[in-house]
Symmetry: C4
């Protein structure tokens, strides 16, 4: 079986919320949100993220590159350019790539004594 061309170029995640608090335990267990970006194809993907909020104009674009045949699990917590992502505030994200990619959204919430997880494949279209 030949490796197929996998994914789409436009993705959206309507959920988004980073709790400012966590139960400690270092980077692995701090409360965070991630978009996992899979580029299974043969060419580098240039990806623009835009964040949408309830009561202000969108932020971004945040620009990242995903190398050919690589995955990038990008934490929203780590974004800083053009501005950091506010904590304890609702947001959504739109992801546009110049190559087909696959996007999944995950949150780890460690505000309480045992962590909680959510995850879903994102909404996609071409």
């Amino acid at each position: 079986m030949e490796s197929p061309r996998i994914g789409r170029t436009v993705w959206a995640v309507a959920e988004g919320y980073i709790p400012s608090q966590g139960s400690g335990g270092g980077r692995a267990l701090e409360s965070h949100e991630t978009v996992c970006l899979l580029n299974a194809g043969p060419r580098e993907a240039h990806v623009d993220l835009t964040l949408f909020f309830a009561d202000r104009d969108p932020a971004g674009p945040y620009r990242v590159t995903v190398a050919a045949q690589r995955t990038l699990h990008l934490r929203f917590n780590d974004l800083g350019d053009p501005e950091p992502v506010p904590r304890d505030r609702d947001y959504s994200s739109v992801i546009v790539s110049d190559e087909p990619i696959v996007v999944q959204h995950t949150r780890l919430d460690s505000r309480q004594s045992a962590l909680a997880l959510l995850s879903t494949v994102a909404y996609s279209q071409d």
Copy 2:
């Protein structure tokens, strides 16, 4: 890259259940269900929600507006017009918009000593 037209106009969430109990901790940590509505487009979206139950006629429509380029994380707990959403009772929801939107459904369940989360992109069609 130009911002694409993102989303669909008809969405459905088959799961729905708001526990009446929670472990306290204020609004952020009370048991709740949310539909996240992302309107990434240039025009205001007028959205109708209808709730379906096991043993009675549907409730609604609940009417909300999502401004252009904004997100609305709407808690079912907060709905009141035309009627509140009953607790401890199974329901489903259908969301219809006059502009393309993206919908994701999340529950935070804090009945026990550590919260639990679930989330999924909703079912969509045009």
Copy 3:
């Protein structure tokens, strides 16, 4: 806005596992798996569920009816005809309806001191 015809007629849930243990707390908090079946349409839906296992022939069909404009959150734990669903055993399910429906799959796992949840919209086609 007119109520649209919502859903599809063929659905599949590849995940399936009911833990035999739970932390108590009654029916609401026992470990369980559910398929939420939303029939937003104007006609009764006749739904057949078939369960697939790792090492034996499929079980079913299990037959349920979802009334027009109603939702049915069906626990796999409660299925008994033609046979109960085994605990602590991997399975998958296929759901076929004669009317369009929307299907979401949820598990509540209460084996440990705080419950965990997972949920996803099912795979669908026509």
Copy 4:
């Protein structure tokens, strides 16, 4: 109702992470990731998995067979040929089958005192 031909032949899971730690409790409760592969059709499915990483070339293919009308809940933890899956490291997976299948991705995280779960239907195309 006749059993329909269900599923697709190309699937991708962008999320992937196996914590090296767990709270004990045996195989059922150790931290793990699973792809659930449902083959509801009448012929054996030959499935190739390829894993993608952040900073090295892909691993695989891992080859598994899913018998006709059977499900296989495959733990990434158990993969060994051509190489084991590293712990505490981001990855993604692509699943290609010669017969239509349905794929769902689940993680059980038992690093803390109560387990957490996530699950989503995978991204699919033909």
